[in-house]
Amino acid sequence: MKIDRRSFLGLGLGAAAGVALSPVGVKLTDDSSIWTQNWPWTPVPEDGKITYDRSVCSLCPGACGISVKKINGRPVKIEGLDDYPINNGGACPHGISGLQYLYDPARIKTPLKKNGNKFEKISWDEAISLVAQKLGEIRKSGTPESLGLITGADSGSMAQLFERFMDAFGSPNTYNMPSLESNLALTAAALHGADRNLGFDLDHSDFILSFGAAIIEGWGSPVACIQANASRRERKAKLVQVDYRLSNTANAADKIIAVKPGTEADLALGICAVLLAKNLIAGDVNTSAFAAMLAKEYTPEKVEAITGVKAADMEALAMEFIKAKAPVAVPGKGRGDVGQSLREFAAVQALNALADRLNKKGGVFVMYPADYLSFSENVMDDAAKQGASKAKLAGSVNELVDKLEKDGGLSALFIYNANPCYALNNPEKVKVAMDKVGFKVSFSSFMDETALRSDVVLPASIFLERLEDVVSGGGLAKTVVGLCRPMVKPIFDTKHPGDALILLAQAMGDSIAQSFSWNSYDACLEQVTGKIWDTLSGDGYVVIDDKPPVGTPATDFTFLASAPKAAVPMGEGDYTLVPVDKMRLAVGSMISSPFAVKIISDKVLSGKYSVVEINPATAGILKDGDIAVLKTAMGKALVKIGFNEGIMPGVIGMPRGLGHAFNNPYVAGKGVNVNDLIGPVIEPGSGLDAAFGIKATLSKA
């Protein structure tokens, strides 16, 4: 007997068959797959004690209460805070993904100084003394007014602290980025008097006439608005949407009134004219000149020609509005921030005034800003007094950009809570204007388009890392001050911008230091909110006011009676390109989180292309899904064609909030920034950029 090759073959086959018929194979396959999932380097979230902490989200002006779930003190989840007077447990996709901002790849981790084209890391001491020295030179040269500030914050202690710094330094040149809040404040100032806000009581209205306001897509305080819309059915409240495309809000509405883009104001004034003609308007308002203008210029036939809304439809709408128990007209198409005109806001508010809906339940509240902060008097030396009393360089941030681009005028610029190099129309021009400023200091948390162009960055801790009062805004009919609390120690070498400002003021010495004598921002906040601090820090919020203000404010129609002209879209082309606001895309200084970008539909962003909505009827040779070249007077971009029968023929809609260009692979490099394609059209009288769109052409790529 000889052991040969066949014996080994037998042995091998036997072993294989034996193993195959035993459970080893099945079991080991399963176990090894589990084993690969548990390699020690696979990150596994830490297990531990679960706690919940309350705070307020300040990502957008919504000011929602949030509950932060922590495990062993590490925040792991953000949820809406139950019973919070604004959002009542609700949360939006940006709020729930707030934790991603903590670890964002674009976060600025240390103070930075521009050296040539690159940033180099510096210490906080170096950064503060560098800025203090530069600002000191400006003061010495006797032109403190040449320090500018562009900010997005227009309420709360941080806004006042920056304002205080500008005053103590001696400059009147503070500019706010356009926002729904600033547009509403401007409207209130034009119609009812300075220093007032407008709040829309959507919760109690039974007839909401929205002039393009994206009520369930991010307008105002988004969660509060979505909840107000959700409760409409129970309340038997109607929503009529005036729009040129079938937005989600329009889709949810009881009725859609299709208008040509940019003619919303004319429709509002047309409705005013109908009410006036039928003598259905309220009381003793000063309407003489205004009334004459309405009667002459806004006859139903004329309005039909302008807006495309049939005269009979408009008259029916006017009657429905005035006959409702608690109607309210809501201005601000989209999110109501960029590309808005005072003419449109004022026209809609005039309708509210004529229908006697001011300070009425379910109407519009003309409110005074929350008066809960008491700063001690600012210490201003002679230079500060002189500088601060000088005239502002420009009336609005848009005009400032114009002025800077043409002939400069600022030697230094602070940027806080703002990303003008992305969020304003024609950002290229903004960048050129920025380059005309010698020294730019950014207080940003992220290396966004504007921070990239600054000379020094004093990185700010984000809302989850800091204490701050957050005042409700966004057209809410109540004023709530919430307390944003640090949920975690700063992850990187960042500071509260309030602390950075205090350190800077103290480094500057003299009167400026005296104006900022606090040890820290936290101490400052406790002191200046003295009146409400106990409740604020105990309950986490204070409801300053949630009732209709007493009395009916006077309305001055002078602005409207002066017949302000409607903005005309720039350039030439077969189409009118309009930006479209989407709930899932953040705008302004806020940048969408990776999560938010992930949940965008491919009807908005397809691969790297922004999808433009176009009505198939006016698409010409273009087909759904085609790549096309979109050209405007400002530039051109490659886009994907998305057929949508819900958009008015001749209008093309492009999502706003895409096309970021900075170091965040999850968010940047996706789609096109629609602002790149639109040039500002500044409205005389208000300084607002009223470019609701621009003429465009489309051709197959």
Binding site: M1, K2, D4, V19, S22, P23
Partner: protein
């Protein structure tokens, strides 16, 4: 080089070994091959059935023996120890504090287990490091409330008759995965007779399909 070529090349020189008359030798070789086959088959087959499970699992004893039957009789129900906390989470294995609602510093009874409990854990204020038979991996979210309160399921459906046992069986841990043997089940093929015999994802899905009409979505458990 192929076998044919091999033969062709080897043929002339090595005739003595291979020869032309190699039929009977082939048969012998085949016979031997069969024996080897059978031998190897039996060894591997039996090892796979008998030895492999023993090698795959390590056995660990509980810190001390726990008598479920006795406790159930004394307390009168299961909920005394296995209850829902105020926040809705389930006290699967009660902490020392819960034990101390009945137990004291003094041993109750004279069993050795009771002595270990009092000396090692009560006196030192240390939690008993029970080994959890039904422990699911961290990647799974499981809510007892959703199943027993909302779904009205019986504990036994998943946990079997552990409440009637009077001694703690050894805890068996899979050496490769670190999971308790109860997840795959005692049967090495993973065949179950009772609903509580194993608790892999497929078993969850099977019951969900039966009761809910749908296997469920990934994120319901894997959050």
């Amino acid at each position: 080089m192929s076998e044919l070529e091999n033969k062709a090349n080897d043929g002339p020189e090595d005739g003595a070994h291979h020869g032309t008359d190699n039929g009977p030798k082939d048969d012998k070789g085949l016979g031997l091959g069969v024996i080897f086959f059978m031998g190897a088959f039996l060894v591997c087959f039996l090892s796979g059935w008998l030895l492999f499970p023993k090698l795959l699992y390590s056995k660990k004893e509980q810190p001390f023996n726990f008598d479920h039957k006795l406790h159930a009789e004394e307390t009168g129900d299961c909920e005394t120890c296995h209850f829902f906390r105020e926040d809705g989470t389930f006290s699967g294995i009660p902490g020392l504090q819960a034990c101390m609602e009945c137990h004291t510093d003094e041993p109750m009874g004279e069993s050795e287990d009771e002595a270990v409990f009092v000396e090692e854990y009560v006196a030192k204020g240390k939690e008993v490091p029970w080994l959890i038979y039904a422990k699911q991996p961290d990647c799974v979210f499981f809510s007892h409330a959703a199943h027993t309160v909302a779904g009205g399921m019986d504990c036994k459906t998943c946990h079997g008759h552990i409440g009637e046992s009077s001694s703690s069986r050894p805890y068996e841990e899979n050496r490769i995965t670190g999971y308790s043997r109860d997840i795959w089940g005692k049967n090495i093929w993973g065949i179950k007779k009772n609903s509580w015999d194993r608790m892999k994802m497929d078993d969850c899905a099977e019951c969900h399909l039966e009761k809910m009409g749908h296997k469920g979505y990934c994120f319901q458990c894997h959050k």
